[in-house]
């Protein structure tokens, strides 16, 4: 059998990939996709612990995380579309109206 830390290390690598994407990219849609990647890496941790501990709560949590992610996707992409309509860009360096 595969020990659990292989799944946890894969999850950590995916999470850090998402973090690097959020920190380096300036395109709002790509940042959004990197956030989805981070959510998925945490889901992987939940499911791994759920299987290794024999407890269903982790998979129920993954279900709720996916529901929240779907809601977030709808609202986030609507915000991106509204932003593009107003400023003709999705580069977050050009979106600084809240900057002090």
């Amino acid at each position: 059998m595969i020990p659990i830390h292989y799944y946890l290390i894969l999850s950590a690598v995916m999470f850090i990939t998402g973090v690097v994407g959020v920190l380096t990219r300036r395109n709002a849609i790509i940042i959004f996709m990197c956030i989805e990647l981070m959510l998925n890496s945490v889901n992987l941790t939940f499911v791994a612990f759920s299987s290794y501990l024999g407890n269903v709560d982790g998979q129920i949590f993954v279900f709720f995380v996916m529901a929240v992610a779907a809601a977030e996707a709808a609202v986030g992409l609507a915000i991106v579309i509204a932003l593009f309509r107003n400023k003709q860009t999705v580069n977050i360096n050009d979106v600084n109206i809240l900057k002090w």
Partner: protein, 152 residues
């Protein structure tokens, strides 16, 4: 995925990642999660993302290797340090609290089935489940309002 200049390529690589993750869920005996991973993520969310990318008709960004700045290197450095810390905490050989977790629990096959998760959702978790429906309704209304309204 994070190094592609074209957002469509990024989205397609992310879909590949989600499909692979569904396979990993199957190896973990989580059938229900694997199926909704494909249906909800690869099917619904990524179609929405691709639709928006193509709707906005974005041009390619400059390739990453032409625009490397100090910020990229610093964020990469901090991310690698964080990755090292995470792996240190997990333990490369799975020491400490994880040392005993080398095999699935004996009941891991039956807890991943649609039947078992469905019965849990409608008994112990029925209140969060109903709250989820309100959340989705609110998100739907919010998305329609945001996309429809013309801001001054």
């Amino acid at each position: 995925m994070i190094t592609r200049a074209n957002p469509v390529n990024s989205a397609l690589f992310l879909i590949l990642n989600f499909l692979s993750l569904a396979g990993i869920y199957l190896t973990l005996n989580a059938q229900f999660v694997a199926i909704i991973q494909i249906l909800v993520y690869a099917g619904a969310i990524m179609v929405l993302v691709l639709f928006v990318i193509m709707l906005l008709n974005l041009e390619d960004e400059a390739p990453l290797r032409d625009t490397l700045t100090k910020r990229h290197y610093v964020s990469l450095l901090f991310a690698l340090v964080t990755l090292g810390l995470l792996i240190e905490v997990i333990g490369w050989k799975g020491a400490g609290a994880l040392a005993g977790m080398t095999a699935f629990a004996p009941n891991s096959v039956e807890i991943g089935t649609v039947e078992h998760i469905g019965s849990e959702l409608f008994t112990r978790y029925v209140f969060p489940f109903e709250l989820t429906s309100i959340l989705l309704l609110a998100a739907m209304i919010g998305a329609v309002v945001l996309a429809k309204k013309r801001f001054p």
